[in-house]
């Protein structure tokens, strides 16, 4: 049972990571810096609870704010470029963050042990949950509480004027600009919201794994972050969730019985998925079809 709870925790945290990239992707930009914001959130939250002795919720809030602030600060210069250049710029930022934590050393004496980030060895003993007697189930519910909150907020945003503005910028920047939308402001806000969500996810990640190190936040994680929304489709937030379940639940855990062959299949299935469904698993057509079925059933009843 603990295995499935643990899997649910992983899926929850990765959904937050995917949703953070989803916000930026809505404006038509590909950001590979999400792993960097995730790392900032993880280190800040971990340092606050371990070294500062803070409770978890304020620590997570501060972690999200710091990551969001970093995203806002990076957004201004980075969003001057678009397309491939932005991919490279954000990759560079994400890698710079990772390399910063690789060289980051800040340890304090706590209870007879030296605790804190220790360069390449990483940051051990982020033991807030075990110390306060939270069971795996509690942690899982805590993570999913945030996932549901964020998904609901994004779902609501999608239906509001803000969502329409984001999608307008994503569909056609020039048209959006000529209808009076401040494109830079919209992109930077999307980046900031993405940073906030990634920081929150990072904080949760640091606490359930209890040990973070720089290699976890590399280009691979950044690629995963954008892979979820692209694979799931950008028509709504559930695409991202579905893609996370598909990748983490099916491709990584479900195919474990295949041993060594699983990793081979992993890349091949992503290539296949993009060939068969280039607009994502849940695209606009799927949503329309689902709506038709739903309405038809209601009409029949």
């Amino acid at each position: 049972m603990d295995f499935y709870l643990g899997l649910a925790q992983i899926i929850g945290v990765h959904t937050l990571l995917g949703l953070s990239a989803y916000c930026v992707l809505l404006t038509g930009q590909i950001s590979l810096a999400q792993a960097g914001f995730f790392a900032i959130g993880a280190y800040v939250a971990g340092m606050l609870t371990v070294l500062g002795g803070w409770p978890i919720i304020p620590a997570l809030a501060v972690a999200a704010l710091v990551a969001g602030g970093a995203a806002c600060a990076v957004g201004f210069p980075a969003l001057r470029v678009t397309g491939l250049m932005l991919v490279v710029a954000t990759t560079a930022f994400g890698e710079a963050v990772r390399l910063f934590f690789f060289n980051f050393n800040y340890q304090l004496e706590r209870g007879g042990f030296k605790l804190g980030p220790h360069g390449g060895e990483g940051f051990r003993q982020i033991r807030y949950f075990p110390e306060h007697g939270w069971s795996t189930l509690d942690v899982m519910l805590f993570i999913w509480l945030f996932v549901v909150l964020v998904m609901a907020a994004l779902w609501w945003m999608d239906r509001s004027r803000a969502g329409a503005v984001l999608r307008a910028v994503g569909e056609d920047e020039l048209a959006a600009q000529s209808s009076g939308i401040n494109v830079t402001a919209v992109k930077v806000s999307a980046m900031t919201v993405g940073g906030l969500i990634a920081g929150l996810g990072g904080g949760l990640f640091a606490h359930y794994t209890t040990h973070i190190e720089h290699v976890q936040f590399g280009v691979v994680l950044a690629t995963f972050a954008v892979a979820y929304p692209i694979l799931g489709g950008l028509s709504n937030v559930f695409g991202t969730l579905l893609a996370v379940i598909f990748i983490q639940g099916f491709l990584i855990e479900g195919l474990r019985f295949m041993g060594d062959w699983r990793n081979l299949l992993f890349g091949a299935l992503i290539v296949l998925a993009m060939n068969v469904r280039p607009r994502g698993l849940i695209d606009a057509g799927t949503v329309a079809a689902l709506k038709r079925i739903f309405n038809w059933e209601r009409a029949g009843a």
Partner: protein, 296 residues
């Protein structure tokens, strides 16, 4: 800093510039595909390493001279490049840039895993040419294998430029990169040019992979991600679609990287390269030789 330190610094700069020829070749590969298709092929560095691995298969069967291994690596690079086009680009609508980006990421993971699967993840030794030759110039030593890598890299670049600017094929390629619709109206097959571009960049990648193997002395699947990042950096610093830019940027990044490693150590080296790139993007987003500022 005393004189000895200065000599060491110049020495590491020179070694870095020589090794930078491999970065330049990778940058050219990214830049060519971008120039022709306006797409980014993230699996390129992995394919190059894959081609070098494929050439090792030859060594496993017969005892071949290292020069032949290089040729086989180039040939298998061409084959892999064509396959990458067929699997990751041919059947995906071009209007959707996210889809091809994702499919090349999938291919990157796939190529890496094929390598890990066939070699059990163990790094393999790669033959070097002229590794026992050392040129002495005053207090400086130039390693023969690095010199060879540099000369071979320059040779490839000259051949590529000749192909692009002196043949009908190159004319067609440049026409497609400038105006795909007009090129098609003139009877140029866009698919054909795309396949050709992927084959040529694949061959270059194969040579680059073999050069990296020869310069480092071994091959490991762990090389492909850092090389992807370095290749992208070179592409951007040189300016997207600019071949001379990619060459200069490749040598520049190689030299700076080694110099920073000498001064600040291996763990901080890449941090400064990333910051340099970020500064470039902010202050000169078009790269060194950009045709016009602010183009995508």
């Amino acid at each position: 800093m005393d004189l000895l330190d200065l000599i060491d610094a110049v020495q590491s700069l020179a070694d870095g510039v020589l090794f930078g020829a491999t970065y330049a070749l990778l940058g050219i590969g990214f830049t060519l595909v971008f120039g022709v298709m306006h797409k980014i092929n993230l699996s390129y560095a992995a394919a190059s390493i894959g081609a070098a691995y494929a050439s090792l298969l030859l060594l496993a069967v017969v005892k071949a001279p290292p020069a032949l291994v290089f040729l086989v690596s180039a040939a298998s690079g061409g084959v892999i490049g064509t396959l990458v086009y067929l699997i990751g680009f041919r059947f995906i609508p071009l209007a959707n840039p996210l889809a091809t980006l994702m499919s090349t990421v999938g291919l990157l993971l796939l190529i890496d895993e094929i390598i890990v699967h066939t070699t059990q993840g163990v790094p393999l030794n790669y033959p070097a040419l002229f590794s026992d030759v050392i040129f002495r110039a005053g207090p400086f030593n130039l390693r023969g294998d690095l010199m060879f890598v540099f000369v071979l890299g320059c040779l490839c670049m000259v051949l590529l430029l000749a192909l692009l600017y002196r043949t009908r094929l190159g004319l067609a390629t440049r026409a497609v990169s400038q105006q795909p619709v007009a090129a098609e109206l003139c009877g140029i097959s866009i698919t054909g040019v795309n396949v050709l571009t992927f084959t040529i960049t694949g061959i270059l990648g194969g040579v680059a992979g073999a050069m990296i193997g020869a310069a480092i002395g071994m091959l490991s699947p762990l090389l492909s991600l850092p090389l992807t990042v370095k290749g992208l950096i070179v592409t951007v610093i040189g300016g997207l679609g600019s071949i001379p830019g990619a060459i200069i940027a490749g040598l520049l990044v190689g030299g700076l990287e080694n110099l920073l490693q000498f001064f600040r150590g291996v763990s901080e080296r890449d941090l400064y390269i990333m910051l340099l790139l970020f500064a470039f993007l902010v202050f000169r987003p078009g790269g060194l030789f950009a045709p016009a500022a602010g183009r995508d």
